[in-house]
């Protein structure tokens, strides 16, 4: 299962001292994201990837171990983002 940014998401990003805010015009939602979630969402813009690939990318970006815990956190983010309509899953 792969994911990518929803078409026409038109995300608006702002960031101050490591805290990221993103606005999603179609739903009118404003989100404040911690760095991990922000990086996941940012990386899905322009890429269609699965959890393993996301884990590898995030691990490298933040210098973390791509272990089960990281996978779980990423899965959680993916679910949240899907429910919010920010990302869509792409059938293989």
């Amino acid at each position: 299962m792969s994911w990518t940014l929803a078409p026409n998401a038109q995300l608006q990003w702002r960031s101050w001292e490591g805290e990221t805010v993103v606005y999603h015009p179609p739903s009118g939602d404003t989100h404040i994201l911690h760095p991990l979630a922000a990086e996941i969402l940012r990386h899905l813009d322009g890429h269609t990837i699965d959890i393993a690939q996301l884990a590898a990318h995030v691990a490298q970006t933040f210098d973390l171990q791509p272990d089960e815990e990281l996978h779980r956190q990423i899965e959680y983010c993916i679910n949240q983002f899907t429910n919010l309509g920010l990302i869509v899953h792409v059938p293989d």
């Binding site: 015009p25 179609p26 739903s27 009118g28 309509g85």
Partner: protein
């Protein structure tokens, strides 16, 4: 309006809507009166849209224009909200394997029709085949839509008498979703066959999904007409009439084969769907009050099939005129209220067996006085909480 008004003369709202070109010459007091009237009839956004479409913004006093701009902002918000709700509905039902038809305001907005511009839309209405309605309810529930809190009487009213699902509300977003399997209540006197509506349904421009559709142009008009002249709530009377005006103009525009075919088949389609009577009223009132260019041949044909026995047409004319446009002045509002009440009673008589009518109207009257929601901006949950605190 072709002759300019003297600055003290009251402005007729329908004239302003039909032809905004005289608006730049209105005086301050005339604008006061017109703006108030548009607020009362919930037609400011539509006026604002027509002013903009006519390129008249720059000719208006900036403070007057600001009111129109504000109403455009609200209308645009409504469009965004409806578009997003529809997006979420498609996400929930798009892969279910049956047709999903968007009705009324949601269809107008999704297809970018003129009827969807300058309009305030509160709910999303969809139609699915009756055999799939339970499945639809389950999928929607899984996606967060739950029946609105209604008392036992209302639940019974919907499920048993109207054979419909009660309105659903999304847990997080609070948007209201009405799921239908037909366009008029099964308990009513008029029963258009839903299978015919599904068969004629067309794709929505811009949405590339094989199951997602809207009604054919003639059916959309018949639905709107039935809604206006059948349904109980006439508070949106002028707004619904404006919808019909937009829909008729859009479908009948141009001198080509497509519009010709539309006009030729409109009345017979109305007969086919048992909606020729509401169509008669719709064509009569839009052409008279909003100068909708309905061909005379079509008016005649509609009159032959749909016109009720006299003296009903004359009484309906008197009632409807007063119901759609309240008096310009502040006095004599009782006239409009009485007219609206009588039309309301007639609508409900057509829908429910007479014995139940009195009971239902009694309950509805009570609830009307408890209703506080203003049909203005769509509010988020947070804003509503804040509002509640501020009103305290």
């Amino acid at each position: 309006m072709t002759t300019p008004l003297k600055t003290s003369q009251p402005v007729h709202l329908l004239d302003a809507l039909n032809d905004p070109s005289s608006l730049p010459s209105l005086s301050g007091p005339q604008w006061n009166q017109l703006i108030r009237l548009t607020r009362r009839t919930k037609s400011m956004a539509k006026l604002a849209h027509r002013v903009s479409a006519a390129g008249l913004d720059d000719q208006l006093d900036p403070r007057v224009l600001d009111h129109l701009l504000a109403s455009r902002a609200v209308a645009n918000q409504h469009r965004r909200v409806v578009s997003w709700e529809a997006d979420r509905v498609i996400a929930a039902l798009g892969d279910a394997g049956y047709d999903l038809i968007f009705l009324k305001g949601a269809a107008y907005v999704l297809s970018d029709m003129s009827a969807g511009h300058g309009r305030l839309i509160s709910d999303v209405d969809i139609m699915v085949p009756k055999v799939n309605i339970d499945d639809a309810e389950l999928r929607l529930h899984a996606a967060g839509w739950v029946p609105m809190k209604l008392d036992a009487y209302d639940q019974r009213y919907y499920r048993q008498w109207m054979h419909e699902l009660p309105p659903l509300r999304h847990k997080a977003r609070k948007g209201v979703l009405d799921v239908h399997h037909t366009i008029l209540p099964e308990s009513g006197r008029l029963r258009p066959d839903p299978a015919k509506l599904f068969a004629a349904a067309i794709p929505i421009p811009g949405i590339h999904h094989p199951r997602v559709k809207m009604l054919a142009p003639a059916d959309m008009i018949l639905h709107s007409a039935a809604h206006l002249f059948q349904d109980g709530d006439l508070a949106g009377g002028l707004r619904d009439l404006l919808d019909l005006d937009d829909l008729l103009r859009a479908a009948g525009a141009g001198d080509d084969e497509k519009s010709g075919a539309f006009w030729r088949s409109l009345v017979s389609r109305g007969k086919e769907l048992d909606l020729h009577r509401p169509l008669y009223y719709a064509l009569r009132f839009t052409s008279r009050l909003l100068r909708t260019p309905v061909p005379q041949a079509v008016l005649d044909e509609s009159s032959r099939t749909g016109k009720p026995m006299a003296p009903v047409p004359m009484i309906m004319d008197l009632l409807a005129d007063r119901a759609f446009v309240p008096d310009a002045g502040q006095g004599k509002r009782w006239g409009a209220s009485l007219a609206r009440w009588m039309l309301y009673v007639r609508s409900h008589w057509l829908r429910m067996p007479p014995l139940l009518l009195a009971q239902h109207l009694g309950k509805k009257a009570m609830r009307r006085f408890q209703k506080v929601e203003d049909e203005t901006a769509v509010k988020t949950k947070e804003e509503k909480n804040v509002d509640a605190k501020r009103l305290a």
